[in-house]
Symmetry: C2
């Protein structure tokens, strides 16, 4: 395996630096060709780097809190671990970044400070809008790439073509899906269904995306019928949070069902291990978080309430996406996409 | 209890008329002041009415199939059970309609053939856009009214005010919530979050809806923090289907977990009754379906794959909404709402 440098934001995560440091150690132990650039306060990252051969320190005296306004925090806190991590990506000091900090702040910082990927539009090369992407477990036992999950609440139809190209490149490079089936999130599966916006996206996707199979409904994200589901960041975020809410409701109700009787409690005890495995499999922790596609570097955003296991998985996933050539695949997909021409001006 | 006539579409439902007929009988047995106007083919509804004192026949020789295009089917099949049921509502031959037929066709037929409720806009009384509404079980053990779930993929911000008024009236009249907390479905809870569209809705809702508490995310639909969640029909449908997809994924995974080991199978057997109760509680069957608000009559739309229990519950729910004065409450809420004035022209 080739050696890869991943910058890890020590200040990301609601639980403070402790689980992040344990996660770094676990990742280093699991991957002997991994190097970590640890971004955080001097008192934490310098001793860490001193004691470990494959860790370097990136001293960042500021931290962006989960409740800071993302854009203004990124603009004001230029010495924060998130901003310095993104600049390290830009300089090539690292090929990937893992942060369990604020999704909004990581997205804003990466958009501002990492070199954007470009696509041709109206005869000029223009930066793409980065989109937040995850590979979610589906009912067929596989994974479905879902983007955009919230970076861009308002986009143009031509942006959706870019999201589809990037999502499909992710499916090919990281998930090894040879010919991804790409669907457009809509309010019905028929070609005629949709809002005015998705109806404008439909013909562009049909003409420009190989493997485009049409509209899907909200349950298409996890049905296993599609490898990539594309949405604007508003609809995508709503679908994602709705799925999380529904899963939480069901888990709560299940817990009450088990706790509601003696035989239920006994079964709960007997099945505890398997149910915890199931919970872990369906949570994002096993893949470490969501990926921001569209910049020249692998950017992985963990959950705020993160565990050392999630940090380990996130760091290893970032390294594996670097080795899989994710950024190069996306760049090629954007290059080889039909130029937008005039229809989206 | 006052006597109420509910028109029941005998041809609705993927399972054919049999479960509908059993559901009608069960509803009649449960409510001695209920009368049913059974809409369907002569060979079915006439013998039914002959044998039962509280059933009258509405002969409808056409049926709209689940896969018919809703709007053209409603326009062409004027003698279908759905269209004739809607006309019966308009004439006052029934106060409510229950159909487990195509949601699109029932919505189109009710919009075309039942008298619309009106609201003042720019000095004139105009028909409201009907919206599809359900009361979904939430994590606090209560119900949250969710509208629009799919009738209107593209609306104006002022339509969203109407949906909020109608949803809140439903919560007050049917669910006995004295002061409903109303939220706008968005991609974040902060006031500044949203798409351009929801940002245009926000100030209108804040100024015109008593009990408006701001934005909620997709998980707000089932969190129990809100009594009413308002969305356009595109976002609402996506959230609804995403929740269904997530629940189905989780139930499948649970099933595999239980079937995956001998101890799991034993626990599955032991807990089967409780798990089925849970499934029933979370499915729409206990309330019979979704309600179309905005017309002068109670219109309840069941799932296509319906059971006799769902037909019974739907028919009884429709009767109970009639007795609760749902239509009058909505009409009052629309009347007493601030007139839209110029801001939405």
């Amino acid at each position: 395996m080739s050696s890869v440098v991943i910058c890890v934001d020590v200040m990301g995560g609601d639980e403070g630096p402790e689980p992040v440091l344990r996660g770094i150690d676990a990742a280093l132990a699991a991957d002997e060709h991994l190097e970590v650039l640890a971004a955080g306060p001097e008192r934490i990252v310098v001793p860490l780097a001193d004691k470990r051969q494959r860790v370097r320190a990136l001293v960042a005296e500021q931290a962006i809190a989960m409740d800071d306004d993302p854009i203004s925090a990124v603009m004001k806190k230029r010495r924060s671990s998130i901003v310095l991590g993104c600049r390290a990506l830009r300089r090539g000091d690292a090929q990937g970044l893992f942060s369990a900090g604020s999704t909004g702040a990581v997205t804003a910082a990466a958009t501002a400070f990492v070199t954007p990927l470009r696509h041709e539009r109206a005869g000029a090369l223009r930066p793409v809008r980065p989109c937040i992407t995850s590979a979610l477990p589906n009912r067929a036992g596989g994974l479905t790439v879902f983007c955009d999950m919230g970076a861009n609440p308002d986009v143009e139809p031509s942006d959706m073509v870019r999201f589809a190209q990037m999502g499909a490149a992710y499916a090919r490079a990281v998930l090894d899906v040879r010919a991804p089936r790409v669907a457009l999130l809509s309010n019905g599966t028929e070609d005629s269904k949709g809002s005015l916006f998705t109806k404008a996206c439909f013909p562009l996707l049909r003409d420009q995306i190989e493997g485009f199979v049409g509209n899907c409904e909200g349950d298409g994200v996890v049905s296993g019928d599609y490898d990539v589901v594309v949405a604007d960041g508003f609809a995508g975020n709503i679908a994602l949070k709705a799925m999380e809410g529904s899963a939480k409701l069901l888990m709560n109700e299940l817990k009450s069902t088990f706790l509601g009787s003696v035989r239920g409690r006994i079964c709960g005890l007997v099945m505890r291990g398997s149910l915890n495995d199931l919970k872990k499999r369906l949570s994002g922790d096993s893949r470490g978080g969501a990926m921001l596609l569209g910049v020249r570097g692998v950017v992985l955003i963990g959950h705020g309430a993160t565990s050392s296991e999630a940090v380990m998985n996130g760091t290893l996933s970032a390294a594996s996406a670097v080795r899989a050539g994710l950024v190069e695949s996306i760049s090629t997909a954007l290059d080889s996409g039909q130029a937008d021409g005039e229809q989206c001006l």
